[in-house]
Amino acid sequence: MKKRHLTPYLLILPTLIALLVFTGYPLISGIFYSFTDIKFIGGEAVWVGLANYQKLFSGGRIGIGRFFNQSFWQTILWTVSVVGGQFTLGFLTALLLNRNFRGKGIYNILILLPWTIPSVVMVLTWQWMYDPFFGLINFYLQKFGLIAKYQVWVGQPNSSIWPQVIVGIWRGIPFMTIMMLSGLKTIPKDLYEAATVDGANIIQQFFHITLPLMKKIITINLMISVMWWWNSFDIQRIMSPVGSLGYNASTLPILAWFESFQWNRLGSGAAISVISLVVLFVLLSSHIKQQMQAVKD
């Protein structure tokens, strides 16, 4: 019996080591770099104290202070709207797919399609659809009278973040749908039958059966999605103009990447990442605490 007690630790060991090496170590070294003036990987690192952080918080109308401030708010806007949109549409789709109707199988498979596409292909496609001259988005918007003439939607320094948000929502619907659908399947059918007998309508059933029973799945799902989309990179990176400074729609991960790898200010880039992580942690910490307690109970 004593010997068996060691087994679970041995079984989680490989996963734990992989996580420690590739997330624990980066965290510690990233925090260290953020206090140095290191320029590129392998370069000389001289301790500069809080200088990187001071520059970021310096504000101002030009330079990194302004970009940081701008990217910070863009990140919040981006995360809230992308995750909000994904969740609303994904949950709605899951609720509808959980009913019985003809052609359910086809809908089930087709709605999940966007998940199977490499993010690169997806962004290229959307870029092509946003094309200022021959894109189908311009075509349809004009056809339905929503815009007077063709517009440039992405790839300019002053492009807005909303066209990218739509891509983010599109990308996330399949995952949200499949997660929510999987959660809905765990709710026993007889609960609804009993509620129907008692005279509860669909809306009452949703608020008194579905939501309470889905609460935990929804919470974890939203938490993971917020973490992923806060740090999301591919969509913004490929849709951003090449090498542009102070890109209007840039989020913190993009700014950090440009600082670190494009403009060779690795220390400053690391500082951006550290702040980004701290803010995310503060925003989510109360939920994580709840989660820990829920697991213990």
């Binding site: 630790y9 079984l11 989680i12 490989p14 996963t15 992989a18 090496v21 590739f22 997330t23 980066p26 965290l27 070294s29 990233g30 770099y33 990987i41 392998g42 549409l89 709605l92 509808l96 089930n108 498979i109 087709l110 709605i111 399609l113 966007p114 998940w115 199977t116 596409i117 490499p118 993010s119 690169v120 292909v121 997806m122 290229l124 496609t125 659809m129 021959f134 189908l136 349809y140 599109w170 619907i173 399949p174 499949i178 999987s182 959660g183 765990t186 799902n221 993971i224 806060w230 740090n231 990179f233 591919d234 990176r237 490929i238 990447w257 880039g269 990442s273 994580i288 989660q291 697991v295």
Partner: protein
Amino acid sequence: MFKFRRNKIIKVITDIVCYVILTAILIFCVAPIFWIIKTSFETPQFIRSPQIQWIPIKFTLQNYISVLTNPNAMIFRAFLNSLIVALSSTALSLTMTTMAGYALSRWNFKGKTQFNVYLLMVNMVPGTLVLISMFVILRRLDLINSHIGLILFYISTGLTLATWMLKGYFDSIPVEIEEQARIDGASHFQVIWRIILPLALPGIFSTGAYLFLSYWNEYMAAMTILQKQELRTLPVQIVNFMGFQRVEWGPIMAYSVIVMIPSSILFFIAQKHMVAGLTAGYSK
């Protein structure tokens, strides 16, 4: 009689509303993919047409031929690279997460909660930060520009959901089966190898499909670690190819379709089990 008909009318109206909403979402989801496929079969001079049409104006296989024969596309090499990297990463991380998932399912050990919270929290660490230190580690090991370097990085990603999915699948296998086999004289290893793993196979397969999909599609790390052209994976190579052919959407979309085929097929096979077990691991 009247009541019965009224219920039926309500049912029909609800059905129609549901179909309309679902179809709208479906169009939003599928239209871009349909557009990829359509563009890939369109004759180049008609691709940039002011008139939008959902079937090719003039059908052609020219784009596919040019992708498959253009030396800059390097599609066979990139395909092979992607396959090597994605398959080995999947095999390794699937082994790790199967072990961890089994441990989480069968034992109540000290630190289990902390491990779960840690699994959740690793998703917060920004990719750029990971990229920087991973680059440092891999360079010290002389693994930059090597598939092994990329595989080592990949096995640390996607672990959270995979572990929880597998825990869920193991939870659905009654412990009594194991105990009975033990009483019948099977060793612990035999029980796991002969009974538990075969029973969990659909779950392991769909978790593997989920992992494979994320490795097959990954861009940022592959772009950073693999700088030699002959090592590049498909997503990196496709962007690179676009650099050569900035205006040619036809071949790029044909390239995209070829990249999508294996992942879509795998996904459709695994999709059913995925829905069944994705959240089982943390719904209890």
